[in-house]
């Protein structure tokens, strides 16, 4: 069992050390393979699967993950300002609606069956399964691939 807790600075603590949880496969397998690394990047613990943890610890880890990572998943493309980059995308993500600027079609990268879209400020958005989007989104997305 892991001795996890949260300190007054809001950081996850394992034993005595402040740790940060890092997903090993954030795109292809986010739920499995989570490493707890200390501030020097040294791995202190490996969680094969989040479900293996007790409820309380799992919550702590999930909270810390959320505070650290940011990879909004695009659920729907509402509109694009043009059908070719550079252009602005309006999207609905699991983190709410937003808009961002796409500089070039090269910023859409395929990672196994998913797409990662990087905006002009370096923020990445995930499209987990392009084929599973609705027709409208697929049509918009189609002209960039």
């Amino acid at each position: 069992m892991l001795e996890l807790s949260k300190n007054a600075f809001g950081r996850l603590v394992l034993g005595q050390a402040e740790v940060a949880p890092v997903r090993a496969f954030p795109v292809t397998n986010p739920q499995s393979g989570i490493s707890l690394v200390d501030s020097n990047g040294k791995e202190l613990a490996w969680i094969a699967n989040l479900e293996d943890l007790e409820m309380r610890e799992r919550k702590l880890v999930e909270e810390a993950l959320q505070a650290r990572e940011f990879l909004p998943e695009i659920l729907r493309l509402s509109s694009v300002s043009r059908h070719a980059a550079p252009c602005e995308w309006r999207v609905e993500t699991d983190k709410g609606k937003t808009a961002f600027k796409l500089d070039s079609e090269d910023d859409i990268r395929r990672i196994s069956s998913s797409l990662v879209v990087t905006d002009s400020h370096g923020v990445s958005f995930l499209i987990r399964d392009p084929a599973a989007l609705d027709r409208h989104s697929r049509r918009l997305l189609g002209s960039f691939l």
């Binding site: 809001g10 940011f70 400020h121």
Partner: protein, 725 residues
Amino acid sequence: MMPVSKWRQVLAVPLGAILHGMNSLPESLRDMLRPGEEALAHLEPDLDENSRFANSHLLLTDQRLLCRGHDGSLGEWPRRDGLVLERFDHAGTGHLELKDETSLIASWRYTLGRDQAARELVMRFRGNEPESAQTDEQASIPVSPRALLRLWRFARPYRGKLLSGFLLSLASTAAAMIPPYLTMPLMDDVLIPFQNGKAIDIPLVERYLGGLFAAALIAWALGWARTYILARVSERIGADLRIATYRHLHGLSLEYFGGKRTGDLVARIGSETDRINVFLSLHLLDFATDLLMIGMTAAVLLSINPMLALVTLLPLPFIVWMIHAVRDKLRHGFEQADRVWSEITNVLTDTIPGIRVVKAFAQEEREVKRFVDANAHNLAVNDRVNTVWSLFAPSVTLLTEIGLLVVWIFGIWQVSTSKITVGVLTAFLAYITRFYSRLDSMSRIVSVTQKAAAGAKRIFEILDQSSSVPEASKPVHPGRVEGSIEAKDIEFRYGSRAILHGVDLSISPGEMIGLVGQSGSGKSTLINLICRFYDPARGAILVDGRDIRSYPIEEYRQNIGLVLQEPFLFFGTIAENIAYGKPDASMEEIVSAARAAHAHEFILRLPFGYDSLVGERGQTLSGGERQRISIARAILIDPRILILDEATSSVDTETEREIQGALDNLVSGRTTIAIAHRLSTLRRADRLVVMEKGRIVEIGRHDDLLEAKGVYYRLHEAQQVKENA
């Protein structure tokens, strides 16, 4: 705390400017300001505590930090000693944390687009004037949708030739207009009278037939001249375009290449320039002549019989409408097709250099499959465009056929009522076939135009890219530098990932620095900055007391000898590779550089000595041999600053000792920065600089550092253990 750097001009932001930027400040927050309270900085964090997109407001005043949450909740924190505001970023988001000695008080999160405002807020909080905004924000590239018009720049130098080509094609088409005109009298004055029992007027027939033949000859000669001229122009425009793009590419920084795949660039410069030049010199002119021809034909038709002419022009509006409807679809389709084509090239440029790995792991089948997949994608995209296109062309043909039918019907009726002669109708039909074939070819230009537009966009994507290491506007010529290097508070990031955090280092001329630290600690990155492959996000590097950004890049780099971690050899002889930085080097110079690098003897063992060809990646040489050649390359240019990034990592200890001896001679009198994992290599260093996670953690001599029992001590111990084991 970050010291205000005095060497950079600091810009005080007038209060008015801040308040001006605070127009978006919600009333409730503005109302909280007490009389006399001065607003200092404002930030709109755009993520809430669950990292969902939601705008809140953060306002710093001279007394307090005020916050209005996305849900309208208000918060305030009076400023006091012990309260710190920290900023850090991770994976595209920035974090602000307000804390005191014991705990976290509040935190905010934002996407990196707002980082500049956040940094300003933090600086203000710490009581410092914010630094003048650096060119951190990449100027967005305005890619005009009118990329085709911008191509004129490349056609301009040839406008004389293009004009003559245009006139020639005009003349040749005009010549081609004569035969149908002659059919009219042939019909009406010769054939029909003959049918009605009149004898054929032989001299008249001869004259008409002679005219037909002459017209054909003239059309042939003009057409030949036109094709010849335009083909030449086309090739030249293509070459210009390719060279301009390639030259521009060389002016771009490593950052650009880091984000591109070779195959993509190869495809853009190779095939797309070709398509564009054909468009510019052939299709565009054809289009212009077609347009004129259609006008001329229409005029001729109108002059013969206005009624009949109007009927003939009936399908024209439909065709124009159709062109308009499919244009955008086609362009996007072709653009997509180009991208997919790049993908195919990418598979090739990926696997061919890596062929040894492919074979070693027996993954030929999988690579073939990758290629098959890319091709399947290509087919799918092209099928989609072709569906549109294949429907378009026959539709135009259908419309013209219908037009022809209408003319027949109308013509027969007119002949039957004796309004026109058979000759007029025949001439009309002859003209109209030409007219419609022109229309047909004109509609075809829709596809070539859109193809060229797609290509032009991709070319201008390169041409519009400005280097992220720009040349100074008023450069100072460095000449041969003394060699003092000073890094001031350097910060650097690759994309959104911060690599160097506040590196300060000062190196005197002629000093040898050993740079050590764990793998990934940022040693090579620091060197990349010193070579100006990249510019730091913050801070500056001074050589001879001047910001290196004020030197012309080429002149500056001539002072630097660089031996890279991964030596690269160009295709050519070994001598050429050694003399790469100084192509006019004499044979003696090359040999002595090779001797100094301890490469001489192994080179002599090769069948052709210094004239041996080394393959694309120096395939025929071993890792250590390649490294020694790249050392010789650096030695030859006799640089003031020598940078050795793991220069001896792939040679055995014996050879390393030899090279070390050579380097010792080389190092004296030059500023040297040597990176090495084997610490023993750095014994001669005047000072050792220890890096850890993007920071310099220790500086000092070997013995002192050992005594300090810090990071260096641990690195050293670890190696002792390994060596003794």
